[in-house]
Symmetry: D2
């Protein structure tokens, strides 16, 4: 079976496994206070050009989201997020379980728009309503789209205007940065966001997300909050080892580039073959419509997600590529269409 189901269907890049194997005889201090974590954090600070940023390593996306969002909000403060955001639909109410409302803004492509954010803030006028305090977006979005510089700057502006923190879920930040739709760099992200993370789980690591808090004022006692929510790994050094390995020689970006390239190639071939896409492919996710026969044929040989119910244009499905996806796999898929 060819697996285009998601980007977390493999263990890790060999360099990551090797780094763990080479550390076999080492002993480490616990809870992320080891040299591996310090070094990885230092690399990240270098990459983003913010020497004062704080970097924390957490095991996975949901716990990173819920820990960070709950850390910066008072009980009556709320998060704004586009309706398709991971925290809205696919985290089983994790943010609400910390006591905070998520106010959704409409979006048809996964992106939050400044005007919608402003309207959401203005609709909350007094103490009978929650107070929006943080805008949550994802780069890439859950729909594979990517914010460009002007879009990001406009969101930063509306956050400044409305007194919102800007939080960027970067579970697929590598894919975003390597996207043709992204005309800005990692250091620029750090200038837009108050908090963001560099996702490892979906781009080569066994597991792990590197949370960057750009404003030192927000980091106060943040380790307490990681511990309280259960995200402070006793073997925190595992995260440091992995991030060091993947950041070395730009491997992290190379892997994302490959995944994007495979998606772009698949996408081109699909269009060429007359297949309808739901949207342009700009990262490692391809959304397309298939007819019933194709759907059945694909399901025999490929793992992928049926994205929504069948419409008149066919059944929308999603292919996700990774650093492991091969040309042969792309071609094998094309032969089924």
């Amino acid at each position: 079976m060819i697996n285009l189901m998601n980007d977390y269907n493999y263990t890790a890049h060999p360099r990551v496994i090797d780094a763990l194997r080479e550390a076999a005889e080492n002993r480490y201090v616990g809870y992320g206070l080891d040299e591996e974590c310090f070094a990885a954090a230092g690399s990240i600070r270098g990459l983003i050009g913010l020497p004062d940023a704080d970097v924390f390593f957490l095991p996975s996306g949901t716990i990173t989201n819920l820990t960070a969002l709950a850390a910066f909000l008072r009980p009556h403060e709320a998060v704004i997020a586009p309706v398709s955001a991971h925290i809205c639909m696919h985290e089983t109410g994790a943010v609400e379980a910390t006591g905070h409302k998520v106010v959704t803004v409409f979006s048809d492509d996964g992106k939050a728009r400044p005007e919608a954010v402003r309207r959401a803030v203005l609709a909350h006028t007094d103490e009978h309503m929650v107070k929006p305090r943080l805008l949550y977006i994802s780069q890439t979005t859950e729909l594979g789209t990517v914010y460009g510089r002007e879009e990001m700057r406009a969101l930063r502006d509306v956050c400044d205007e409305c007194g919102l923190f800007l939080f960027i879920d970067g579970a697929r930040l590598g894919h975003a940065l390597e996207s043709p739709a992204c005309d800005f760099t990692l250091p620029e992200i750090a200038s837009f966001a108050d908090i963001f993370y560099i996702g490892g789980t979906k781009n080569g690591l066994l597991f792990g997300e590197a949370l960057v808090i750009c404003d030192p004022a927000l980091t106060s006692e943040f380790r307490y909050l990681i511990k309280q929510r259960g995200g402070l790994m006793s073997k925190g050094f595992l995260l440091g080892i992995q991030f060091r390995a993947i950041l070395e020689d730009g491997l992290y970006f190379e892997l994302a580039r490959h995944a994007n390239a495979m998606a772009a190639l698949l996408s081109d071939k699909l269009v060429h073959a007359g297949v309808q896409l739901l949207a342009d492919t700009v990262s490692n996710q391809v959304f397309l419509f298939v007819d019933d026969g194709t759907l059945r044929r694909l399901q025999e040989h490929v793992l992928f997600e049926v994205w929504a119910a069948k419409s008149e244009r066919g059944t929308p499905i999603r292919f996700v590529t990774t650093w492991k996806t091969t040309l042969e796999e792309i071609e094998a898929v094309m032969e089924l269409l």
Copy 2:
């Protein structure tokens, strides 16, 4: 430096790393619904002799504790735990952060006593107080002590009498089962506990705890709760792979046996050398008193924890052994005393 600081100062046993390496070309279903997890769960069900038990794999101890405790309690229900329990002092109020009070019972050796549990329950008489509903204990305890069969049975009885679930934190369950102080087996634990876990992080895995819910009535929709608290790893198969590797040929128990043996050996030598212990050594933790000169000498060559403030008997310190601790390390420590 010899590291006797804790039992999570290394990456993992080579067989665990090898298993991950051998899985390099595999593709997996996400979120723990893969064959590796199913196989590891099957092994555990076999080992405990409960074919209907449910087994869930979580990344670490605190998130296992907070997820499981919050899953089974209504908002007004409380946990009872001995005062030295991990959830009382070393999880930054993780249980309270889910909304539940932890009622402590006095204990001088880390163990809960039936009479103290009963008194705590009886002190809660009406709706102006929380309602105790679950007893949390650890095997081994945080102080390295181990419950024997009669102690465990007496706790089960008081739980039945008082309407409490019995939850056993098994972060060091392997060390407990291999302890000379433990006169019962893994299947018996499953007959005492409603919920317990088999700790991997402290006994050979990179990370991972296997939570066993013995009563199928309690498992309803438990995966929702893991997801909501952030403990449902997208690459859940990493836990399945690791547990399969460590459970094969009894490796898990062998590693715990080695750690215990090293602690016992060290302990014997210490006693022989006239050093005072705080308590008998029955698992992989050794508590001893040292004078100021010894303390300084040790600190130059060994990593360990100063357990409490100096008293007239000296400064109490803790040595923790693991499956990696060697005879040479034990002897090197003895030479410093």
Copy 3:
């Protein structure tokens, strides 16, 4: 100033004040375990024809909502509510603060529709999403509309089909029951709802809501939950005294009838005078459009709420009538138009 701002702008009906005055020399048992509360609960059980129902008295609406909703839900379970529901917009995230997500369904008239509820349930398919477990509606709705028997029965059916509890916020239940749009009685409500309340604050009491739990299985230990959330008044008898007074000789219904009649009269006169209404008036709220001149004139002599921003039909405003609203006030308002 004529006050048509809301239905909680007065102290209480004289009979309520008198009842409190007459109790001046009495002494009572605390926390609602007194004869006044028992008698008032008995009256309510009689009125609804459910001898086994449990009745609890709470001081106000938000605390009744948050206590009851959190009592019946496990952590991953969610509430469904129409987008204009009080808990969605006007309780500062009180439900989310207990850890539960509120899933909104679209509604243009304040009412939940069965098809929208079913769709919302079906959209939640697995453990990555919350599990809808309770439908929250209001009778009358926040927009003054009223469910009829067939609408209510259809909601009950969809709740049965989807495994949802049905909760009816009855802050204005009296006004609903006396509405021409309501073709069913109080006992029938008890057959539709699993939990509902009879609002006192907006219909003659100083304060107080009577929460009725129709299914005895749901009441287990409910007093613990009231206490924990802060709604268990030490002088619970104040609620018993007031409800006894207002329920005597049908006063509660008489007051609601008067308020509705005043709204209907005002509404008729407005229509007659050519004023445009947003919707038919069926309870004690009147929604109308006014031009700028009328708006200014009204604001000099009448307190009322500007409901939304000005549109091409004028500025929508809301008049609320109560048991204290007089014919003279209605006429005085009409003269301003």
Copy 4:
């Protein structure tokens, strides 16, 4: 039956009922933004001599405690309280339900001691533990004892030293201020406490507590928090009306003085009659030991609380006096002894 069970067994002082009756024809703005609340708040600011203090009126004690404590704490911060404190034992885990741990310090007389507070703070050393941030005490305590000026100043000092807010639960603040054991005044309380409240429910009101936040920096958006927890009464003016009535001409203090005087008188007579007290009587609670015969005799004619299990000195019971307790009642009780 003579009722010495508690100090909330009556409705309200006649002046309070009269004030409500006289307001029958008034109309008010909702949610505590009315002139009655403004005037009552002004009176309180005058009495405490803090023109910048913020005053909020809440319906009862538990909701005041849980709202205020949760408002000022970040998720990992904890409350310190003496073991007998109301929030520890008699609020069904209300504080924990907001997510915060309550760290108890030993006390045999209901008072927190500076040294115990300091030790509790120092025992919390890093991010594996909660961070104590607020000291909760009661004046009078649950055991009827009263802090003097030097004790209060010493607690203020330890709070300053350890970075704690000082919160004083004043459910019986009137009784404390009128106690012979209290050598300081209301304005001084405001200089010791960061937050405190003046209890109305137990001293003449139907219900209501006036929360004073002395540090304007802490009041930011506090109304949001009251609303979210369900304590923002739509008819907030009822609290303003009542507090104005009770504060006029010093009535509040007069009522407390009377209750204390009745307790002192009863206490003197008991001592004179050879009855053993548990502790000196300094406010409106009397704790005494009775033998079995006396216990039975009293139970036939008097309502009171059995405080604890029988010991060799007899059964400890509690009498509580109020502004309504009469000389005749005291004498009638004495005749039963």
